[in-house]
């Protein structure tokens, strides 16, 4: 994946853009998120489409923001869109602890002033065998890891989602063990493809997509890309992750997109790209084989799924 200098949007510019969009469309947005309400924004897609593979097409803002798995707001795909209105993503802090030089809590604004926000168009493949193409804005996780100054003994990174049952109605029910947790191996976390996303389609991250900051690991099933992160912990042992804890026979720690490893519930050989009628073949590592296959050359992927 190539990122051209011209495609990099400084954080301030995109915040301003956001304000403009917010001002002119406030009433329309309050009522309902419709594709027509974003006609202005969508008219300049060239920023994103440049990065697309020839077989891929961007999914619409409406598709990306009304069809989500974010159980903190309910288990149905439409729940995050419908139930996330009361969630307050600002102010926001991220606690850094575990095997680091100095445990500390960062203000999100402080983190953002130290990084460069880039456009990254990624395929997102859900373990439920559907997929989308999403234009994210964000920065490489490696930049934050550098700020966190982990010790050399740190081999894994754990992420924790915020726990606010009063703002996240799904958390009032114990569907999974809250708060949601995910993890990566250090080399996966440092891979240039791995980003912390703060926006999509030039908007600040919508609540239903993991406001204000979420992980995006495009070669892994969507559930690895944990949303609304409040804590990042550096560890020397493999951390427990939410879905693996709930059903270890179905979800592994690695959860790399892999058409050859069967899942008891969904065949992973094919997927439905949202917006398309016929299924398409699922690609190894979701099509990012070139960038990440080397991370797993010594790993039996049928065992470590």
């Amino acid at each position: 994946m190539k990122i051209l200098g011209s495609e990099i949007t400084p954080y301030k510019t995109y915040l301003n853009r956001r304000k403009f969009i917010k001002g002119s469309l406030a009433s329309a947005m309050l009522a309902t998120v419709t594709s027509s309400a974003f006609a202005n924004h969508d008219s300049d897609l060239s920023i994103y489409t440049k990065n697309l593979n020839e077989n891929d097409k961007l999914n619409s803002y409406e598709e990306i923001t009304t069809y989500n798995n974010f159980y903190e707001f309910g288990t149905h795909k439409k729940h995050p869109h419908l139930n996330s209105g009361n969630f307050k993503p600002r102010p926001w802090t991220i606690k850094i602890d575990g095997l680091v030089k100095k445990p500390q809590t960062f203000d999100l604004e402080k983190i953002l002033s130290n990084v460069t926000i880039e456009d990254r168009v990624y395929r997102l493949r859900c373990v439920e065998a559907w997929s989308m193409v999403i234009p994210w804005q964000g920065f490489q996780l490696s930049e934050l890891i550098k700020m966190a100054e982990p010790l050399s003994s740190a081999k894994y990174v754990q992420f924790v989602t915020v726990f606010r049952p009063e703002e996240m109605p799904g958390q009032q029910k114990r569907t999974i063990i809250w708060p949601y947790r995910e993890g990566l191996r250090m080399d996966e976390a440092m891979n240039p493809l791995t980003i912390l996303a703060t926006g999509l389609y030039g908007h600040e991250m919508p609540n239903q997509n993991g406001a204000p900051i979420r992980l995006v690991v495009p070669w892994k099933y969507g559930f690895k890309s944990i949303k609304s992160i409040v804590e990042i912990r550096f560890l020397d042992t493999q951390p427990e992750t939410s879905w693996e804890t709930l059903a270890p026979w179905e979800y592994g720690f690695y959860a790399n997109v892999n058409p050859n490893v069967n899942h008891p519930r969904w065949s992973q050989g094919t997927e439905r790209r949202i917006g398309e009628f016929k299924r398409r073949e699922t690609l190894m590592f979701n099509g990012y084989e070139e960038e990440v296959a080397h991370l797993y050359k010594d790993l039996d992927l049928t065992k470590f799924y």
């Binding site: 159980y71 795909k77 439409k78 999974i176 519930r265 065949s267 439905r272």
Partner: protein, 201 residues
């Protein structure tokens, strides 16, 4: 009020009410109003409707044990056939829209994935029920054999609710409620059978 005549009279209204959702979903599907993932939505709605109708047929039998509601049983056949209708639509959505008649893939899917296996067996068991639903068939088979065949509704209901239970990833409340209802209805039948006065030979 709950006479056979009145139940029979309600049939046309009931027919339209139960048929209507399928027409609505078909219309919404064709016009692109079934949400972001319309094939999945269609399949889920059709399947859920089928399961609910199966449970309703079991409930009708139980309700007909209450003396004033005895005649409600005249509605059972129609609702049972509608359950079969929705199962057929559900299954053909899976075959045609979801997998585009890729039979090799579908067969693998049915064998390998327990939840699909449950659903498929449930569908197979419904076929003899639907095809022996006419008065003529009852006569030809004799009531005893016919009734025996129709006991298949019990495995059908259990498998269908398991199909739903396994499918749900985390919040299993709804499938558990359905399973609970089915178990209660089955327990009632077993209890009734055990307490029935035995005929002396």
């Amino acid at each position: 009020m709950f006479s056979t005549k009145n139940f029979n009279r309600s049939k046309p209204v009931l027919f339209i009410l139960i048929l209507f959702p399928s027409l609505l979903w078909a219309y919404q599907f064709v016009t692109g109003n079934l949400g972001v993932n319309p094939i999945e939505k269609l399949m889920d709605e059709l399947g859920l409707m089928a399961l609910r109708l199966i449970i309703i047929t079991l409930m009708i039998t139980t309700l007909s044990n209450i003396r004033p509601l005895k005649s409600i049983v005249v509605l059972r056949r129609m609702i049972g056939l509608f359950a079969f209708y929705y199962v057929c639509l559900h299954f053909s959505t899976y075959i045609v829209l979801d997998h585009f008649l890729d039979m090799q893939f579908i067969i693998q899917d049915i064998i390998k994935r327990p939840f699909i296996t449950f659903g498929f067996i449930s569908f197979l068991f419904l076929i003899p029920l639907a095809s022996t639903s006419t008065n003529n068939m009852i006569k030809r088979l004799g009531f005893k054999l016919w009734k025996r065949i129709h006991y298949l509704i019990y495995p059908v209901a259990i498998l269908a609710s398991m199909h739903f239970y396994v499918l749900v990833r985390a919040d299993k409340t709804e499938p558990v409620i359905y399973m609970g209802i089915i178990i209660l209805l089955l327990l009632h039948r077993i209890f009734k059978r055990l307490t029935r006065p035995q005929l002396v030979q």
